[in-house]
Structures are given as structure tokens and as C-alpha cells.
């Protein structure tokens, strides 16, 4: 049914989308959406959507209230937060609009002109799903369909002449009972795993980690919109690597040297153990400031990449975050070793403002 309000609602959503697109760069570089993430949606603050008019500044206005309390008593939260005239007057609040992650990804895709991802391999994996679509005459009582049962009983009573409109009592019997039944559907499913690796050695400061955090939020958002089933693994490394949860990943601070190969080796093990490359689309992202401990380790990295990680992955992304201490050498080594590898994507992120373009670099290939 088309409701009268639908066109206006849609128009409103369009305006919201337009505003988000317009301010996307701002949202991304400030990272403010991350804290507002719910389960499936993000609440986006939109400051300029309401229609301006000449009105009083609320703070200075004051007003009249009702209730007990001596002079000087602070009022409850309501007035203090939103302005006194909550209710029929438009307040000063910033409009917050819930946008689903899928929609946000779509906006990101539109703005960055990202191609849709083509899952690798021709054969996709099939999974089965149960759908309750049918009706059966037998089944477990827990699935009894009350409405159908009563309808059936009503039909029977009318047919047999046992129905009295003045005393409409309907008594279902055994034969009237109807049950919901399910069908098993086979649906193709595409699986993907994102493996985040980050250098947490002393040279990676808070700002660098914040950049990684923002970048990974948007990578997640986009990839989630492209695959039905997505897994995420987090690996941190300094001189040694380990798998951690998301919170630790973004908050831990270590010191010490850097051996990138340790992370690559661990990623290789994780993939071998959990995510067979024939069934999974694999997305490793590695962030570091480009410092590595000696040339030996770098050549070890190159070997791991050539032999395992690159052939297995859809794309392998390396993002180099600029830090005051890092030499930024590793990206040069990668460029030298793989002058133009189609699956290796490199990006240098010097500041928050460059996150957007780096996202475009990473995701722009549509793989």
C-alpha cells in the first residue's frame, strides 16, 4: 500500500542522503560517526536541515515554570539541555537521523564512485535456509496456525450447518488443525574475511592509530555491504605478532622493534587454519608507519607475499601512515619488489584528510 506520506518521507531521506554525501569528507576526517554506531545503523548528526527563521536565542531568554523549589535551584535536565520550551516549539537540537550501515555504504560508494565487488571464483558456496512459507495438516503444536485453524473450523461448521450466526461459537476439531511448515531453500553465499594488521611499535602514536581506526570503520562498512557473511580478524605486531580482539587492536600500545614478517606469517597461518582461499574472499589490510627491522625481514615479507598472501587474497592493501618517527621505507621496498602487481594496493596516508582518497585507492578496483 502506498501511503500518502511516502513521497515526502522519501524526499526527506533523499535530502538527508544529500547532506551526508556533501559532508562525507568532514564526517570521515573527524571520525565522529564511529562512536555513533549501533548494531545495524549509524546515527548521523545533521546540523543544517531545519528551516531557519528569526527566533530568539534560547539561552538568554529564560521563562516561566511550575513546581516546587527555592530560588537558585537548578531545573531538571530537560530545560538545561534542550531549551525550555520542549514540546510544541522547534528546539535547538541538532537533528539526528538513523542511517543504516547499508545505506551509508551506498552513499560512500556513490561519493567515491566505487565499483561493486566481483567475488572471486566462479563457484560460490551454497548454504541452506529454512523459510516458513507453507501450511500442513500435521505438525508440532508449537507451529499451529490459529487463524487458519479457526477459518477451517468455520468453513466446516458452515458446510455441515452447525454454524449459528446469533451464537457464533466455533470449535475446531482435530481435522481442522493447520500447521506452519517450512521449505528448505538453497541460497548462494559469498563469504569474506578481513584481516587487519597493524604495527603497534613505539613509533605508531595515537593519531596514527586513530587514522587506522577511521579507515577500518569505512572499509568494514563498504565490504559488509558487498558480502553477506563477513568475518574480521585483528593482528597486531611489533617484533612478534598475535591475534587480538577489536578493542585491543585499537587501544593497545606497545613499544619495541618491528618485524613485519611476523604479522604476515601469522596472517598466513590464520588463513590456512580458518579460511581456505577456495571458499573465502580474503582481504588483508596492513597499516604501519613503514619502519621495518633490517633488510632480512623485509625480504622475508616479500617471500610471504609472493608465495602465499598475494595469490590467496582478492587484494592485499598496505596503508602507510605518516609518523614523526617512521622512516617510511617499507612502501618503497614494496614498490620496488612489485612494480605493478594487480592485487597489491599501496596507499600513503599523511593525515586524516587523506583517508577518503586512500579508501578510494583501496576499494576502487572492485575486487
Amino acid at each position: 500500500m502506498v501511503r500518502r506520506v511516502d513521497p515526502d518521507s522519501r524526499r526527506f531521506r533523499d535530502i538527508v542522503r544529500g547532506k551526508i554525501r556533501e559532508n562525507l569528507k568532514h564526517y570521515i576526517s573527524r571520525g565522529e560517526l564511529i562512536a555513533r554506531q549501533g548494531k545495524n545503523s549509524v546515527s548521523v548528526p545533521l546540523p543544517q536541515i531545519d528551516i531557519p527563521n528569526f527566533r530568539f536565542g534560547k539561552t538568554e531568554q529564560g521563562g516561566v515554570g511550575q513546581g516546587p523549589g527555592a530560588e537558585g535551584t537548578p531545573l531538571g535536565g530537560e530545560a538545561a539541555e534542550g531549551g525550555p520550551e520542549a514540546g510544541d516549539q522547534p528546539g535547538d537540537h541538532i537533528l539526528e537521523v538513523d542511517v543504516s550501515l547499508a545505506e551509508l555504504a551506498e552513499i560512500l560508494g556513490e561519493e567515491l564512485e566505487l565499483p561493486r565487488i566481483e567475488p572471486k571464483g566462479t563457484e560460490s558456496i551454497h548454504t541452506t535456509k529454512e523459510r516458513y512459507t507453507g501450511i500442513h495438516k500435521s505438525g508440532p503444536e508449537s507451529l499451529r496456525h490459529f487463524k487458519r485453524t479457526f477459518k477451517q473450523a468455520l468453513k466446516r461448521q458452515i458446510q455441515t450447518g452447525h454454524y449459528d450466526p446469533d451464537n457464533p461459537v466455533i470449535v475446531p476439531t482435530r481435522v481442522d488443525r493447520r500447521y506452519r511448515s517450512w521449505k528448505t531453500l538453497s541460497v548462494p553465499q559469498s563469504n569474506a574475511v578481513i584481516i587487519y594488521m597493524m604495527d603497534v611499535s613505539g613509533s605508531m602514536g595515537n593519531e596514527q592509530k586513530e587514522i587506522v581506526r577511521i579507515e577500518s570503520f569505512w572499509l568494514d562498512t563498504w565490504l559488509k555491504s558487498q558480502y553477506e557473511n563477513i568475518e574480521t580478524r585483528y593482528i597486531i605486531h611489533d617484533a612478534a605478532a598475535r591475534v587480538v580482539d577489536a578493542h585491543t587492536f585499537f587501544h593497545i600500545r606497545e613499544s619495541g622493534g618491528t618485524k613485519i614478517s611476523s604479522a604476515y606469517k601469522l596472517a598466513k597461518e590464520v588463513i590456512e587454519r580458518e579460511f581456505p582461499p577456495s571458499e573465502w574472499n580474503i582481504y588483508p589490510f596492513h597499516f604501519s608507519d613503514g619502519d621495518n627491522w633490517g633488510g632480512d625481514d623485509t625480504s622475508l615479507c616479500m617471500n610471504l607475499l609472493t608465495e602465499h598472501l598475494l595469490p590467496w587474497s582478492n587484494i592485499f592493501c598496505y596503508g602507510q601512515v605518516k609518523s614523526a618517527y617512521g622512516s617510511g621505507q617499507f612502501i618503497k621496498d614494496l614498490r620496488e619488489a612489485f612494480p605493478s602487481h594487480e592485487r597489491l594496493i599501496l596507499s600513503e596516508i599523511n593525515s586524516r584528510d587523506e583517508i577518503l582518497s586512500s579508501l578510494k585507492t583501496f576499494l576502487g578496483k572492485g575486487k
Binding site: R3, V5, R11, F12, N53, G69, G72, A80
Partner: protein
């Protein structure tokens, strides 16, 4: 999925009973057509201000989303919705229990009586349902011709200026003719200064060419003084409709927005009285007639819900109903007039009862001729103010909170009246359409101690510029200084005035 909106036989029966009670109490209302709706239909209707057809605009969609969200989070629920029209349309929520339906019906008959009889509603369009539908057609036609984006942007501009009306304009006719004429006359009558002299000296003492030059100078000075508009005008919207260089469809839409603003204005001007009156009657009808013993608890719960207060907010339902009851009580017992006012014996005042029994008659009279401002001004007494625990509050910079400022009667009353003046909006007048002799528009904010919200004021000036197409200026006060905010099409300027 579409269920009929007509009342069920049982509700129809209840409606007839409640209507009978209302008539018996002397309420005199338009016919009320009740429709039965689900909560999302209710929210939908509410987001269009109660009207079945309105022009398309995104803000209705936004309101709908807000209502849906706050309903589904359990934060708010629309109980009653009635529109001022002949006949009135009112909506009942299908899922409400019977006692709520009765309460809402009684409340709605109260509103309908108020719409029909209150003077401030007397100039409103009673066929607004039809008019709104016509407005919708007009806007849709413009959209078909000029495209949604362009028309929508124009509506946004118009809505931004929507509150620049003169809520009292419908109640008097003012002629601007006179002042125009007098300037013309003055121009005609003016002449140079003649010195007294003997006739034969005339040509020397008052040489004709000097007199002529002087006269021309004076006419020029008069012309400079002559302003357009001749008098500052509060109905800025009508000034723009008449004088701004607009295309026809733009002018029509601006007029539509103005029309609707005038239609809604009396509701803002009588919020306290209107809700108070309706609450008074639902309470009277329910508690003395319609309530079944089994429903008392639910009724009391919902009634007290509507009358609940929060610090920092005046609940119009509560103040309204209590003032009406206070008036009824005072006129029943004769607690008014010079004799009562002069009495300063506390106990005598407490026991004062002249058994006049004029209360009911008085409140009917009050609902006929007062609006919120005159209502509060006339009937908010010191006794009432103390009983109702009214106070003023202000923003305390030190703690960043709003704090209770005073319980002094005069202060409370003054502040309350201030907040009701001009429906709680700043008074802004257009006083010069040829500012700087460059055809620019000059508005003045009639500053009463509360400054404007500046970012909004600037954004509104931008919209005003889209209407006037030349420079626009607003004189107001910022931080205690007179300032002129200007927007010339590209950037904002701000000038301190001496």
C-alpha cells in the same frame, strides 16, 4: 490492509452519549466527524497538521519519521487530534481503550466549541480542509511546470519567513492612505521663507528665484523623508507578496504560505485557553456523567498524565484548566471587584462567599472574548500564582544550568506575558524598501531585551534576499549594541550603529 475509518457501532453510541452531555452543558460546537485510525495513520495525519491533503514537502516526511520514532520508542503518543474546520475533523486511535475514546471525544467537543465561539478564531477560514487541498493543487501544478527542486527550494525560502506576519492584522483594517496624502499636500503647500516687508521692497527682500530654489530644496527633503512603506509594517509577508519582484508562481506560493500561517496563528495565540477549556470539559463530562465506575483509575491516570508538569515547562493544559476553575470559583463566590480587592483580612478573604453563582456564565464569556495574553493578564492573580507554584527561571552562566530566578508575582506574570507576546517570536517590521536609496530592504527587530539567534538570523536574511533580490538589512541588538546585519547576495556584513 485498509480498515474502515468510520466508528464502530459501539463507539458511535458512545459518541452520541458524549455529544448529548456536551450539549446539555451548553457547549455550542461545529459538527464533529470522528475517524478511527491506526497509530501510523495517526502519525501521518499529525505530520500534515491534521489535514487530509496538503502540498508535498519534505518537512512533513521529517515530522512523520520523528513521530514514528518517538512512538515506537514509547516516548510519545498522540492522543487527540482535531482541526478547526466546519465540520471539525477529529481522529481516534483504534487501539485505545474505551475510556480513552470517551475522554478524547469529550475533549474534542470542548475544542470544537472553542473554535466556533472564541473571537480570535472568528476570522479563520472554516473551509480550510478544502483550501489546503486547493493549495496542494497549486503547488503540484508549479512542480509539474518548474520541477520539484526549484519549487521545493522556493517553499523552503517561504517557510523561513513564515513567522513574519502580524497576528492581529485580521482583526482591524488600517488605512495607509492618509499619510501618503498628507505628504503630497505638504509638498504642494511648501514654499520658501518669505520675510515681512513693504510691497515695494518685495522683489529685493524676497527675490523670486531664491524662493523657488528654497522650495525645491524643501520638496527634495520631503521626498527624502517619504518612505515606502509609509509606516513600518509588521505583516512583512504581505509586503513581500505585494512588492517583491517575483514570478507569478513564486508569488502564489508565498501567498499560500502566508495564508496557512494566518490560519494557524490563532491556535498559537490561544493555546493555554483552548487546551484549558477542552480539559475543563472532558474532566467535567467524564467525572459527572460519562465515567463508568470500572474506568475511574484508568481515567485518573490518563487525565493526570495530560496535566503533568515538568520543571521549566508550562503545561498549557494544566495552567488553562486551573485558571478556568479558579475563575469559576471566584465568580461563584464573588471574589472579585473593588470590595474584595480592598479587603486585606486574610481570614475574611478565605471565607468570602457571596453566593453569586456566576461562575459558569463567566467562563463561557471568557472563552468567547479572551486570548492567552488577555486571559493571563486579567485572571492570573497572586493567589493563583502562589497556589500553582509558578516561578521564573534564567540561565546561570556560572553553573551552566537553568535555575529558578524568582517567585515574585509581578515578575512571573511579566515573564509569562513576555513569552506569549507575538506568540513567543520576535517582532520584526519592514520599514524601508528603498534603503540607502538603492531599493534595498530594511527590517527592524523591535528589541525587547532578548537577542536573536544570530546564525539563524543570518541564514534567514539569505532567504529574504532570494525573495527581495536586492540587499537586505536587519537592525537588531547584539550584546547590548545596536547593530545592522546585512546580506548583499555574496557575503554578510555587520555594522555597529551609533
Amino acid at each position: 490492509m485498509f480498515e474502515s475509518r468510520t466508528l464502530t457501532p459501539r463507539l458511535e453510541e458512545l459518541r452520541r452519549t458524549i455529544r448529548g452531555h456536551a450539549v446539555e452543558f451548553g457547549l455550542d460546537f461545529f459538527d464533529v466527524i470522528f475517524e478511527l485510525v491506526d497509530y501510523d495513520e495517526m502519525n501521518m495525519i499529525a505530520s500534515y497538521g491534521g489535514f487530509p491533503t496538503r502540498y508535498p514537502h519534505w518537512r512533513f516526511g521529517m515530522q512523520f519519521e520523528e513521530l514514528q520514532k518517538s512512538y515506537s520508542y514509547g516516548l510519545s503518543k498522540i492522543y487527540e487530534l482535531v482541526i478547526n474546520n466546519d465540520p471539525c475533523y477529529a481522529y481516534l486511535m483504534r487501539a485505545n481503550p474505551e475510556v480513552d475514546q470517551k475522554l478524547v471525544m469529550a475533549h474534542v467537543y470542548g475544542h470544537s466549541d472553542f473554535f466556533k465561539n472564541n473571537y480570535w478564531f472568528s476570522k479563520t477560514n472554516r473551509k480550510m480542509v478544502d483550501t489546503m487541498a486547493n493549495h496542494a493543487v497549486l503547488v503540484r501544478r508549479a512542480i509539474d511546470r518548474y520541477g520539484l527542486d526549484e519549487v521545493e527550494q522556493w517553499i523552503d525560502v517561504c517557510l523561513s519567513l513564515e513567522n513574519l506576519i502580524d497576528p492581529h492584522a485580521p482583526y482591524f483594517r488600517e488605512s495607509t492612505k492618509q499619510s501618503e496624502e498628507s505628504i503630497e499636500e505638504q509638498k504642494f503647500a511648501t514654499h520658501g521663507t518669505k520675510f515681512k516687508t513693504k510691497p515695494y521692497m518685495e522683489g529685493f527682500v524676497n527675490p523670486p528665484e531664491v524662493l523657488k530654489r528654497e522650495r525645491e530644496q524643501r520638496i527634495k527633503a520631503l521626498e527624502k523623508e517619504e518612505r515606502f512603506p509609509a509606516k513600518p509594517q509588521r505583516d512583512v509577508l504581505s509586503f513581500l507578496v505585494e512588492n517583491a519582484p517575483l514570478k507569478r508562481w513564486q508569488r502564489e506560493i508565498l501567498a499560500v504560505v502566508r495564508d496557512e500561517a494566518y490560519y494557524f496563528a490563532p491556535q498559537a495565540m490561544t493555546k493555554i485557553m483552548n487546551e484549558g477549556w477542552a480539559s475543563y470539559w472532558h474532566s467535567k463530562i467524564m467525572t459527572t456523567r460519562a465515567l463508568d465506575a470500572s474506568e475511574v483509575i484508568d481515567y485518573a491516570d490518563h487525565h493526570s498524565g495530560t496535566l503533568g508538569t515538568r520543571p521549566g515547562v508550562i503545561n498549557p493544559y494544566k495552567i488553562g484548566i486551573e485558571l478556568f476553575r479558579d475563575i469559576e470559583e471566584r465568580w461563584n463566590t464573588g471574589r472579585f471587584g473593588p470590595e474584595y480587592d480592598a479587603c486585606d483580612d486574610y481570614r475574611a478573604r478565605q471565607r468570602w462567599d457571596k453566593k453569586l453563582g456566576l461562575g459558569r456564565e463567566k467562563i463561557f464569556e471568557v472563552r468567547k472574548i479572551y486570548n492567552d495574553i488577555t486571559f493571563i493578564d486579567e485572571f492570573l492573580t497572586q493567589d493563583f500564582c502562589e497556589r500553582a507554584q509558578l516561578f521564573t527561571y534564567k540561565f546561570d552562566r556560572h553553573s551552566g544550568n537553568y535555575v529558578i530566578d524568582s517567585r515574585e508575582f509581578q515578575e512571573v506574570k511579566g515573564k509569562l506575558l513576555d513569552s506569549l507576546a507575538n506568540m513567543g517570536r520576535p517582532v520584526i517590521l519592514v520599514d524601508d524598501a528603498n534603503f540607502k536609496n538603492r531599493g534595498e530592504l530594511h527590517l527592524t527587530h523591535d528589541y525587547q531585551g532578548v537577542p536573536l539567534k544570530l546564525d539563524y538570523a543570518r541564514a534567514t536574511l539569505e532567504n529574504l534576499h532570494k525573495v527581495w533580490t536586492r540587499g537586505v538589512h536587519l537592525e537588531t541588538q547584539v550584546d547590548g549594541k545596536k547593530k545592522l546585519l546585512s546580506f548583499g547576495g555574496t557575503r554578510h556584513e555587520e555594522k555597529v550603529l551609533g
